[in-house]
Amino acid sequence: MLEITNLHARVGEGPSTGARGALSAVGGREILKGIDLKVGTGEVHAIMGPNGSGKSTLAGVLAGRSEYVVTAGSVLYEGKDLLAMAPEDRAREGVFLAFQYPVELPGVNNAYFLKAALNAVRRHRGEEELDAIDFMALVRDRMKLLEIDPSMLNRPVNEGFSGGEKKRNEIFQMAVLEPRLAILDETDSGLDIDALKIVASGVNALRSPERSTIVVTHYQRLLNYIVPDYVHVLSEGRIVKSGGKELALELEEKGYGWLEQEEVGR
């Protein structure tokens, strides 16, 4: 369902965009240096790696962040050229990025936002738009899954949310939009164990043979709750090791230094 071949990307020129300011400091430098990855339908892949290895860049490139420039390689998503699509078209085709840093949208009502998003996706799929009543029924159902307070719906998107609330809101949006490919970008960062369990059980509830998931994480902890089929280790913009779920445990034990040395020794 997803086939990444020899993907190279760097940060483009131009002003930074706030949350990603750290990356723009290295503007122009190549971050992804030839990623090859195949994700089959229904599979859960974990991408692990130290800070600066390119994990979030990969997630951003797949979702269509405009500050990254792809310099080589290709990404086929269900046989289509993903990189040629606008971000909104990728979303409508079923790609969902759970943001590492969900964006606050002051003045944009959460329910209004979510309904606009859902109906944009439904229109694209040729499904009828949901009216307010059906929308609310769906949303209530999914809110329970993520243990979300219904008052959240009437608040501006992510504004004044705690870190945990923001991450739960991301997975809640995923539950409403029902993507075919979910990319979770460090969804565990900044979560306490209780919030982590809620988020993980939400993700697990959405696991299905039709849905593929890429879990980007720095720590193995999340993978205790979202158990992956495959684990890949990213270092210096390349996948340096792939294996089953046990690879995550090995990494936890030995740290990333072990792999980097192995890489140097090759």
Partner: protein, 486 residues
């Protein structure tokens, strides 16, 4: 040196005076003569004057406008539907080209405790009623456009409430500029009695050929000439009075609109102003508030939208003359095309005005590289136990916010519109009259649709494929922020 020749105004003034000398009381004529003398002495302002540095009014000064003759030019009240907001049992006083149009007004079922009359009517029947107020608040000594209005104003609205009256329905004062090439001088006098509570809506609308608010069926629009509105409102609050004032300017985009709102607050009175500016080629709005009694509280909110080559200039002055008064000011602007805006917010805290709490914010959203804002806070503080803050931000739509919306399947144009509406909603959301709030949201959407044309240059380089491919993007947010807390 006055830049221009004011001869056409001299001719008109003399002619008008011959006509109204017999009717008007002597005190009024004396004010008019003094005001006109000031206008001829001052002339139209130039950009060499500090208060007019960024606003060149020569397109107004260089043009001859005919004095609006009468309330004709409108075929019938149905053409005003677009400018009315749906309120049950509306109270409306309508002026066409500055003249009272009784047939278009709805004044039959006034709530108890309020009188709504035309200025012309008051001047002929009961002129002494307004002696202490008319022309006494809006100073014309140094303000040529106030002087001009004061000299010429023959009609307008006089709204008065009895002490303790709570007026349950908003009073809508609607000024329609229905003919091009003419100047009108709308005048409003609001006298809010002690402990009274009321809501006033002032609308300034225009209908002309090619005007973006044009409606079929309105006559008198064929001249192709812009209209000029020079408006003055004086709002006087008694002790403990609560007045909410809404001002909606929707004149044609080639028209000229200059206004001064002068407000006086007595002891423990509360005033809020909500100013919306959509139309006009050159728009200058002055709002001057005098906190003349202890414990007064004033809120100034504003939203201006400008595209094309529109210029919207807002000058506010909040004069804290007494202790324990609060002022809260939030003005927001959305600028596209080559539009320019000016915001000058002066807060004066006089030596006696201890315990003043003043807060001022100006935020501007620039939708194009060529749009421009000159924003200037001006704090003059002569008391030592006060809290005064001001802040100004200028920015573009956040690239992160746009991407977030797009990443959820919302197309770029819709995402931009959502973010712009959210920015504006901060001000429209403060409108307390529900029907007016909906009306303004609707006007906002339609105005954005005509003004905003979010085409952007490409940010991807030619030899590389942007990860976001598609149409490229707005530049990252580039806020220039000033925050100060003296």
């Amino acid at each position: 040196m006055p830049t221009t020749d004011v001869n056409s105004y001299v001719t008109d003034f003399e002619r008008l005076n011959d006509a109204r000398a017999a009717a008007g009381p002597a005190w009024l004529q004396e004010i008019r003569d003094r005001a006109f003398a000031r206008f001829t002495a001052l002339g139209f302002p130039t950009t060499r004057q500090e208060e007019w540095r960024f606003t060149n009014v020569s397109p107004i000064a260089d043009r001859v406008f005919h004095l609006a003759a009468g309330p004709d030019g409108l075929a019938g009240s149905e053409h005003l539907a677009a400018y009315r907001f749906a309120a049950a049992e509306p109270v409306e006083i309508v002026f066409v080209n500055g003249h009272f149009a009784p047939a278009l007004s709805n004044l039959d079922a006034l709530p108890a405790g309020v009188s709504v009359r035309s200025l012309a009517g008051v001047l002929s029947d009961d002129p002494d009623r307004i002696v202490p107020h008319f022309g006494r608040h809006a100073a014309f000594e140094d303000q040529p456009f106030v002087a001009l209005n004061t000299a010429f104003a023959s009609d307008g609205a006089v709204v008065e409430t009895s002490p303790n009256a709570v007026i349950g329905r908003p009073i809508h004062i609607l000024f329609v500029a229905a003919r091009g090439g003419e100047v009108s001088y709308p005048r409003v006098l609001v006298l809010a009695g002690r402990n009274t509570q009321m809501q006033i809506v002032e609308s300034y609308v225009g209908v002309r050929a090619n005007g973006d608010h044009g409606r079929a069926g309105i006559r008198g629009q064929g001249s192709g000439e812009p209209s000029f509105t020079d408006a003055v409102s004086e709002i006087v609050l008694g002790d403990g009075a609560v007045v909410d004032q809404y001002r909606v300017q929707r004149e044609a985009t080639d028209s000229f609109h200059v206004s001064t709102t002068q407000v006086r607050l007595a002891h423990s009175s509360t005033y809020s102003s909500h100013a919306f500016s959509f139309g006009g080629a050159i728009v200058r709005n002055d709002v001057n508030v005098l906190l003349a009694g202890e414990g007064g509280d004033c809120t100034l909110n504003g939203l201006y939208l400008a595209g094309g080559s529109q210029l919207v200039d807002t000058h506010t002055v909040i004069d804290h003359a007494q202790p324990h008064c609060g002022s809260h000011e939030v003005y927001k602007g959305i600028l596209d095309g080559r539009a320019r805006a000016v915001f000058n917010g002066k807060i004066l805290v006089r030596p006696d005005a201890q315990k003043t709490d003043a807060k001022q914010t100006n935020k501007t959203l620039l939708l194009s590289d060529d749009a421009q804002i000159n924003t200037k806070p001006q704090l003059e503080i002569f008391a030592n136990d006060v809290k005064c803050t001001h802040g100004a931000t200028v920015g573009q739509l956040s690239a992160d916010a746009l991407f977030y919306l797009q990443a959820r399947g919302i197309d770029r144009a819709t995402a931009q519109q959502m973010l712009i509406r959210a920015f504006a909603g901060d001000i429209t959301g403060r409108v307390k009259i529900g029907a007016l709030r909906e009306h303004l949201d609707d006007v906002l959407l339609r105005t954005l649709a005509t003004k905003s044309n979010p085409t952007r240059r490409s940010s991807g380089t030619a030899d590389a494929k942007a990860a976001g491919s598609h149409d490229s993007s707005v530049r990252g947010e580039n806020p220039r922020e000033v925050e100060a807390e003296p």
